[in-house]
Symmetry: C2
Subunit: 433 residues, 2 copies
């Protein structure tokens, strides 16, 4: 707003000048002069509220107060990320710009992501003000429009694309698909035009649509949700063919999705808290960063129970009887490539183990907490001895033993029990964001 | 900015009117008219960027788009919080308005907290833009001033007090203490003038000062921190006399604090991520809400390891040889009141167990995950059998068994080993926010 306001005010000032010159009466001239003083004051007011930062060509690690990326580039010096600046090459699509999606978008914007695609059809309301991001003065704007306005002020280096549409309509789904396929930002990228899709929607139907699109495009995505009582949430990684898709469950549950519009019609509304949504958005984007910049471990499923500060994790294998035909196709493809991938992963792990013996990367125990020996709790031995049900892993492995846990893809302890999947879906079903 | 701009523009418009009426020449009149049209356009522009919401007298649960509290009051209908509106009676002091403190302040503001006291001496810099909250146009403003500007726009119902000072100076400490003692907001409140202090500072010295103030005032507080490599953090509840205070550790570690200014002088800077800081702020405020509004369980210490999505918890008992004399006084007082408190807590638990048998509150398993029987993993039996070191508890108890875990105050499994405390302090020492 600041700069267009300033230009306007300057033009008004100049017109008053020419008017003043053409007026013979000194009292009129003095009136005009006073008006000009007021315009100047306004101009200063507009200026102070409209300072923007300019674009940055390269991300620098220089430690000066004026460098918006110094604290991020420091991740390299700290040994966390190998090449932080790669983040500028990535495109992320965020579906649903509500309590979780808007905060996720702000985090990625501040991290300097290359391109953000934002999808929502809703408008900002005062009833959204109990969650982070949107401000009262944006009430009435579409969420996409308000988000792009705020986000491009925060970081003009990010490329924003906003789609004000409902992906569950025929037209909306077509635009959604073609926007994901568009490769103009990174023409040489493999697969679709985006690197990751984050689902931050608040209803079952929209989740199924994101699932359909990602299965068709063989697109890795992350799902997120917050419960209607506002005190639990989850994030989940979905890799078509490799992990359970969102439809990998008996059809009997499929019809039970209740979305927020239904709740509203019935005169009730779901509870929500900025805390729970902030935590879920943080965990979601943290895992997205780990996935894209290849550091740490991406958690296949992470729950958050706010009442108890309890964070369950698990893994889910795809359902060979999944009702989604695109999922079945991806499953077939995955079975073909799996042996080669497993071999490559084993070779990589062995090489890393070798170099770790030579020079330990994480020699210091970050938490200074000695927990317990592998063999007593939480190691793969315990799981395979049947104390925990299939597919669940202990929450408290020893820090060093953690690398032994099954990661997505090795399939050693999947949750392939259909009943478990059904229960899982029911839980997701009750989620909204 | 919007409303003062609008008033100014209206006055300019009116003056142009009177000028127009006094001018005989029609060409001048038309020039004036054109100026008035421009002023009107500007006025609309200012209006769209400056709409504020008005104050709300009572928090309503009504489900309409214009109610900023509908989703929070729904916590009552959902059975999570008994009386949400009590939040308006509480005062929270936030020390340090950086990456964690600013987000914590925004969350509490959006939740409709009664009063927020904000302390910081720093200014907003572009180098802060990789964390949530501050915007580039606020660069150069003090963090307190910028925060109050943004927060009072978001929720005019909250009473803000901002203190632009360094609590580690003599003068700053005095103002800090007297501001905490001031009871004008709630004259009938027991203890100090605030209900909780949140420490969101980035150095050891400031933490020691908050500790000193809270020990002297017998003030419960919560500590938070994020590691210099940006991928771990923690929150901790400190109840003077009842839990370890921040000085409950051998003095040899006390001198080793390194703050961000030192790091900057050496030409390096700590890494930071909006994700980690958002998660830590969310966990901090969530526990603050649980503490104030009496729902769920407040976690005595909760860590966050972002690389592994690992969330360790523990408890720390006060050190009878603590170097802080105010801590020792609080410990003596606590020993006197403890038997009566324990008896009251036991009576309450028994009453609750009785009513739970009659009518189970949480009959449904929220997560739909069956984990494992108490007796096999994670129950108090395992801990007392010595598999875990003192004071550490399993991260994955069965959901139903969780209520059997020791909570702050029963003292059954404290971490009172001085060596553990020392290690713990070292870890905190390396933290900053």
């Amino acid at each position: 707003m600041g700069s267009s306001m300033e230009t306007e005010l300057k033009e008004i000032f100049n017109e008053l000048n020419s008017l003043q010159n053409s007026l013979p009466d000194p009292s009129h001239q003095s009136q005009i002069h006073q008006l000009q003083c007021r315009i100047e004051r306004l101009s200063n007011l507009a200026k102070s509220g409209g300072m923007h930062r300019s674009k940055v060509k390269d991300m620098s690690a220089e430690v000066v107060d004026s460098n918006p990326y110094s604290r991020l580039m420091a991740l390299q010096r700290m040994g966390i990320v190998q090449n932080y600046e790669r983040i500028r090459q990535f495109s992320i699509a965020i579906v649903g710009i509500g309590g979780v999606g808007s905060v996720a978008a702000e985090m990625l914007t501040r991290c300097g992501i290359g391109r953000l695609l934002l999808y929502d059809y809703d408008k900002v309301e005062l009833a959204n003000m109990n969650r982070l991001f949107f401000r009262p003065e944006q009430v009435g704007m579409t969420k996409t429009e308000a988000a792009v306005e705020t986000l491009s002020d925060i970081n003009p280096d990010v490329v924003f694309e906003s789609y004000t549409l409902n992906i569950t309509t025929v037209q909306g789904f077509e635009t959604f698909m073609s926007s994901l396929k568009n490769k103009s930002f990174g023409p040489h990228k493999e697969g679709s035009g985006v690197d990751l899709v984050l689902s931050c929607v608040d209803n079952y139907e929209a989740r199924m649509v994101v699932n359909q699109a990602c299965n068709e495009l063989n697109q890795t995505w992350m799902e997120s949700g917050v419960s209607e009582n506002a005190v639990s949430g989850h994030i989940q990684l979905l890799v078509p063919g490799e992990t359970a898709c969102f439809a990998c469950a008996p059809p009997l549950v499929v019809a039970s999705g209740v979305d927020e519009r239904t709740l509203k019609r019935e005169g009730v509304c779901a509870a929500s808290l900025p805390t729970t949504m902030g935590v879920v958005a943080g965990l979601l984007v943290q895992n997205a960063l780990k996935y894209l910049l290849k550091f740490g471990q991406v958690t296949p499923y992470l729950g958050y129970n706010a009442l108890k500060d309890y964070f369950p994790t698990m893994e889910m294998k795809p359902n060979p009887q999944c009702s989604n035909s695109a999922c079945l196709e991806r499953q077939k493809e995955y079975i073909l490539v799996k042996p080669a991938r497993d071999a490559a992963a084993r070779a990589k792990m062995e090489a890393e183990a070798q170099s770790a013996t030579e020079c330990p990367i994480h020699a210091d125990n970050e938490w200074n907490i000695s927990v317990v020996d592998d063999s007593e709790v939480a190691g793969p031995d315990v799981r395979s001895s049947g104390i925990l049900p299939d597919g669940l892993m202990h929450e408290l492995p020893s820090a060093d033993g953690f690398s032994n846990l099954p990661v997505s893809g090795d399939g050693s302890n999947p949750l392939d029990d259909l009943d478990e999947l059904r229960k899982q879906l029911e839980a997701l079903n009750a989620d909204k964001s």
